[in-house]
């Protein structure tokens, strides 16, 4: 049996919110539905949203508070109505720089798909205990928050009865509430940093509302138990994030949930030889969300981890539109490439570069800061000129920011040819 060879104009790897919005963006920009194929590894479209049954999705996009599956369904319906082809239960195995996507599924077998454009929408994975080297044995009862969420929300099973959660990012906070609502006792949420990286509303709605203590500047220093978790030792950390022995405290529990970082899944991206930004762990892209291989685009969590799916949808729509333009040979080229520098409090900016021709007042820049800052100024420079300044009462690593430049600023950038984002705390 030979593998099947197929051709498509636009291959989209991932059928979660990013892939779905990208597909619709492409169609909106004139691509024919049949020219697209969405490749999704789960048994249905929707991605991680399918297990995010809590509300809070769509405030920006729809002005409504939807649950994850509801938000996903809005896009899935439109994809189906548009007749955009997709395969599920299909895992992309490789991506070449020539845009050949090899995928496998029980139904299709092994398929070598030659695409004209590829949109990377693979999302991200969770950092496991192994990456933390937390001392102790390796008992059952230690889960990443997402794995626990899958068991509870999709399978209907509880990972444990008493839990400690490490990491106060949104997933950790959501799971603190979820476990509690299902009858488990969540004894504490520990956060290594002196601030939470989760959305403020989640701290209120998931911890405060349920009297779950949030222990900032704390981490888990030891895992107890051999067959099944028996407890954890937590400790306060100093300003260098090193545990302070005198503050060690034992908490009896049978479950430890880890929400200690999301890592964009760029194995395929690296296979194709695409340049990766070491800060975002995602591809380096231009304003079209095009990577450094022409015709390969990236959007959503695989590009940079988002807080709000609404922004994923917006970004992915842009990538889809760009891919559609690309296959028609209409993606604007030429003009000086302007590289964007992130410094002094700004950890990264997406896109990492923009071409002078393409930059305008509608170009949106997304960025994250490296710490919690109050009453600080977001500043954008081009050459020595300050072209944008905005005071923000609060900036935090867990809340992605975005901005657009006005016409005058855009003109300055076109002339000077560079762009720097930074934070001024004075």
């Amino acid at each position: 049996m030979q593998m099947i060879e197929k051709k498509v104009k636009i291959a989209i790897i991932g059928g979660g919110p990013a892939g779905l919005a990208a597909a619709l963006g492409a169609v909106e920009a004139g691509a024919k539905p049949d020219d697209i194929l969405i490749i999704e590894r789960d048994t249905c479209l929707g991605g991680i949203l399918n297990q995010c049954i809590h509300a809070g999705f769509g405030l920006h996009m729809f002005g409504e508070e939807l649950s994850g599956p509801e938000y996903a369904l809005r896009y899935i319906k439109r994809v189906k109505e548009a007749g955009i082809p997709y395969v599920t239960d299909a895992m992309a195995l490789s991506l070449s720089k020539d845009k050949v996507v090899t995928y496998v599924s029980p139904e299709s077998g092994l398929v070598k798909l030659q695409a004209e454009a590829v949109i990377l929408a693979m999302g991200c994975r969770e950092r496991p205990r192994g990456a933390l080297n937390t001392p102790g044995a390796r008992p059952a009862g230690i889960y990443t928050a997402g794995a626990a969420q899958r068991f509870i929300n999709i399978e209907g099973y509880m990972p444990g009865k008493t839990a400690v959660i490490l990491g106060s990012g949104d997933i950790g906070l959501i799971m603190a509430r979820r476990m509690t609502l299902e009858g488990a006792k969540v004894k504490a949420v520990c956060e290594l940093m002196p601030y939470s990286s989760g959305l403020a509303r989640n701290i209120a709605q998931c911890l405060d509302d349920f009297d779950i203590p949030l222990k900032l500047s704390h981490t888990v220093v030891k895992i107890h138990g051999h067959k099944r978790l028996e407890g954890v030792t937590i400790a306060k950390v100093d300003e260098n994030l090193k545990p302070i022995k005198e503050t060690e405290e034992y908490i009896e529990c049978d479950t430890l949930l880890l929400s200690v970082g999301l890592i964009p899944e760029n194995e395929l991206t690296e296979m194709a030889g695409i340049s990766i930004d070491r800060v975002t762990s995602g591809a380096v892209v231009n304003n079209f969300r095009e990577t450094d291989i022409e015709g390969i685009f990236a959007c959503g969590n695989v590009l940079h981890v988002h807080d709000l799916v609404d922004f994923v949808s917006g970004e992915s729509e842009l990538a889809g539109k760009s891919a559609a333009a690309y296959v028609r040979g209409e993606l604007p080229r030429g003009g000086k490439q302007i590289n964007i520098t992130a410094k002094d409090g700004v950890r990264y900016v997406v896109p990492q570069n923009v071409s002078g021709n393409a930059l305008d007042e509608n170009t949106e820049f997304f960025f994250r800061v490296g710490g919690v800052m109050r009453n600080a100024y977001i500043e954008v420079y081009s050459g020595d000129e300050l072209i944008y300044r905005k005071k923000k009462p609060r900036l935090a690593p867990g809340e992605m920011e975005n901005l657009k430049l006005d016409a005058k600023a855009v003109e300055t950038v076109r002339q000077n040819g560079d762009l720097t984002f930074c934070i001024n705390r004075s």
Binding site: M91, P106, S108, G130, A137, E155, Y157, M158, P159, R228
Partner: protein, 480 residues
């Protein structure tokens, strides 16, 4: 039924011995107190097939290591187990080290280790480009290699079962009595009877020896911690790198694994038999020791996991391979610490020779098949092979473990094979699902579902590694 031989301990020694015994017309029973083979030290070690220069001349360690190293490639081929002939370097950084390296060389020659050389300069750095620039010279042993220790152990046990041996798990021998040349091994509830007994109980081999009235040795558990780095670090080292030995032991090493990860460790700390905990100090120690060997910083942001194994160090200093003092049909294969893994093929052959001397009748089993049923590994196949496989059985078209590229078909195989997996760790050891960079974060729920379905057990009965390690505590809304 009365077995001809009961083997206590399904680690690498017990499993290889059971396999060796299954070459003959013998009724063999392989027993382990855990829920699966390879639950102890055999799954948590350096995974090295040592060349054999380290052990003192005239010891069993020396003799069996050299022989085992020689036999290993063929055994791995028969058992369809990954093996790589990497060679090893014992590196010198000082005058004392230079001396130590020379001593090892001479010892190796006397032990019969082939083709060793002391190398330095360009030759050394061409062989190992990332070696620390402070390296003065190194003992190069081309016959050394690496293997996957749990793959090997399970393959050997499986092959034994395939060839007629019985495997009995969750059977903790706590009494051994003898009557009329038949030994009764009891766990308090049931018993196994056999004419000969092999004590391959690893960390507990002294306790089993005591049950036979033999207190001639003790096991002093010495823990070693390890860190494993991501596959993207493949090529960080090409050979197995050792620092020159000191009083504490072989020293910390940096080695590739057959799965293209990088392994560093171990330290050596006296502890208790059940202590497999990693410690902050231990991990810091191995990181420091490993850093000395290489010129690049250790990829500390790319740790996949860390773990610890406990060496069954015998108080006698050498492998304890001998008849029990009191019960003459019991053969000890005890205190098999390093170079135990490398020696295992030779230990098994030697054990059968000794059993024969002890009166075990050996008649060749004409139906013995040395090759185990080939293992399907989708990730290692070419595109056409894959296409054919999926067409034949669509379950091979569903990737379950994304990090290691393991399909549902392979996981089902792992469960259905002789002595198949019955737990999450059992699937890990056989099919590799869950051993990648996300450590089962993605695939564990799916593996659990497959176990539940194939074994016909509720999801709440799926364990990580036997009773007491259930992964779920109940259905939602049932907790209070």
């Amino acid at each position: 039924m009365i077995y001809d031989v009961a083997v206590i301990g399904a680690g690498v020694i017990g499993s290889m011995t059971a396999r060796e015994l299954s070459r003959y017309n013998l009724k063999v029973c392989l027993i382990d107190k855990l829920d699966d083979a390879c639950g102890g030290t055999s799954k948590a070690n350096s995974a090295i097939v040592h060349a054999g220069f380290d052990a003192e001349n005239g010891t069993l360690k020396a003799k069996l290591n050299v022989k085992g190293c020689e036999l290993m490639p063929e055994v791995c081929r028969e058992l369809d187990v990954h093996y790589k002939n990497t060679g090893s370097l014992v590196v010198s950084f000082s005058d004392e080290d230079d001396e130590a390296v020379k001593v090892l060389y001479e010892r190796g020659v006397k032990n019969g280790v082939p083709d060793m050389r002391i190398i330095s300069g360009d030759e050394l750095f061409a062989m190992e480009p990332n070696l620390s620039k402070n390296a003065r010279c190194a003992l190069y042993a081309p016959t050394a290699g690496i293997v996957c220790p749990y793959e090997l152990t399970i393959a050997a046990a499986e092959n034994a079962v395939q060839n007629g041996a019985d495997a009995k798990f969750e059977f903790e021998v706590n009494d051994i009595s003898e009557k009329n040349g038949v030994y009764t091994l009891s766990n308090g509830k049931e018993s196994v009877e056999a004419r000969f007994v092999v004590n391959a109980a690893g960390l507990f081999s002294d306790e089993i020896a005591s049950l036979t009235g033999d207190a001639s040795f003790d096991i002093k558990p010495r823990k070693g911690e390890y860190m494993l780095y991501d596959k993207s670090c493949d090529g960080f080292v090409k050979t197995v790198l050792f620092s020159a030995p000191s009083k504490e032991g072989k020293g910390i090493l940096v080695a590739p694994t057959v799965d293209r990860n990088v392994l560093v460790g171990p330290n050596a700390v006296l502890t208790s038999k059940d202590d497999t905990e990693t410690t902050p100090m231990g991990l810091a120690q191995i990181a420091e020791g490993a850093s000395k060997l290489v010129s690049l910083p250790l990829p500390s942001r790319k740790t996949v996991t860390s773990f610890a194994g406990v060496r069954p160090t015998p108080t006698t200093g050498d492998f304890v391979i001998k008849k029990s003092e009191k019960m003459k049909g019991v053969l000890h294969l005890a205190g098999i610490e390093s170079p135990g893994l490398a020696s295992s093929p030779a230990v098994a052959v030697y054990a059968v020779e000794l059993l024969s001397e002890m009166g075990l009748e050996l008649v060749k089993n004409e139906k013995f098949v040395p090759e185990r049923q080939k293992v399907v590994r989708f990730r290692e196949m070419g595109d056409n092979e894959r296409a054919e496989l999926v067409a034949k059985n669509p379950a091979y078209g569903r990737i379950i473990c994304r990090c290691e590229g393991v399909t549902e078909g392979e996981i089902v195989d792992a469960i259905k094979r002789p002595m198949g997996a019955t737990s999450i760790d059992g699937v890990k050891k056989r099919a590799r699902a869950g051993l990648g960079r996300c450590q089962g974060g993605f695939c564990m729920p799916r593996v659990a579902e497959i176990l539940s379905r194939e074994l016909g057990i509720p999801l709440t009965e799926v364990t990580k590694n036997g009773k007491g390690s259930e992964i779920l505590t109940g259905k939602t809304k049932e907790v209070r």
